[in-house]
Symmetry: C2
Subunit: 163 residues, 2 copies
DNA sequence: GCAGACGCGAAATATTATTGCGCATGCGGC
DNA sequence: GCCGCATGCGCAATAATATTTCGCGTCTGC
């Protein structure tokens, strides 16, 4: 199982940096209970091992004029690897598509999209998404409000599992 | 419109910090073409104005043993504000639920969940989600693979709109 | 019991953040 | 058209932080 090589301090480091990615190393060190140099070494190790994929500012889409968020459930006309890959490539190229996940079941893909307003999204929907190769059906749902938005990996669960 | 008060340098700052949240201020300053002190002042202003909501390490769920991700489409037995709020509160309390969005249309909520394995998720589904108050129907779809995962606010679109 | 590896902490150095100040630019009042 | 005033920049100095180097203790496996 991945994660087995992490001790409690490593997990604390991950949890702290997940909560505040710009925390200084000295602050981090004092929070996890070791001194700064070994703390920094651990952080570097975690980064290189892929536990930490990067650091990002959380920029508010709304403040920048992206008023609407939409989930789009997409079905393709066939599920060949070529069609699936082609569609994924298209999604990566569309800026309004923020996430693209391939699913099992009736729906082939779920997309999370943002747009400045409804009409922008509808333009995107009719002129881009619905016209894309292999797209057979699209059902969209507007996000009315967001109760929880990706608070990160739930370390409570990790602790529970590892004891 | 929000965002109108930002000049090109501010937008560059947001884009750079979104791409790398631990960039040093001197590096950031040189990238956006001003000196360090005014750059730091702008960053502080952006933080206080709510354009930057925070900074977070991007921790890999997979490395920590979360092998599966699932989307759950949830319908409630009534759409009263009390029922909606109560369900949202439940979602915020469940660690395995990483996102909870209220939607229009047939589905009331869409949840993005993670779990260490399928059986953990099924326990959560049957013992928690399906038994929660007001939950009438749940359809789940496993994520087979992820083609794109929240690359942040698409600044290309912002630039396009503001010129 | 002993050699090696590992991880810690303290001190020294380099890098960075942060503050205070003077200067240029652009705008409104007279 | 000229003069204050506000805004925002850059420079220089100081404080804080990151990062490297080194020596020490501990734990493991022989």
């Amino acid at each position: 199982m991945p994660g087995a090589k992490l001790d409690e301090i490593d997990r604390k480091i991950l949890a702290e940096l997940q909560a505040d990615g710009r925390m200084t190393n000295v602050e981090l060190a004092s929070r996890v209970g070791i001194s700064a140099p070994p703390c920094l070494r651990r952080v570097r190790t975690l980064e290189e091992a892929g536990y930490i994929r990067g650091y990002h500012a959380d920029v508010s889409p709304r403040e920048l004029g992206f008023e609407v968020a939409v989930f789009a459930m997409v079905g393709l006309d066939n599920q060949s690897e070529a069609a699936l890959s082609a569609f994924e490539a298209r999604c990566r190229a569309w800026p309004l598509v923020r996430e693209c996940h391939m699913l099992n079941g009736e729906i082939d893909f779920i997309l999370k999209c943002v747009a400045p307003d409804l009409s922008s999204f509808q333009s995107f929907l009719t002129e881009e998404l619905l016209r894309a190769d292999h797209v057979a059906s699209v059902k969209t749902s507007l996000v009315i409000r967001c109760a929880k938005d990706d608070p990160g990996v739930p370390f409570e669960v990790v602790e529970e599992r590892l004891g």
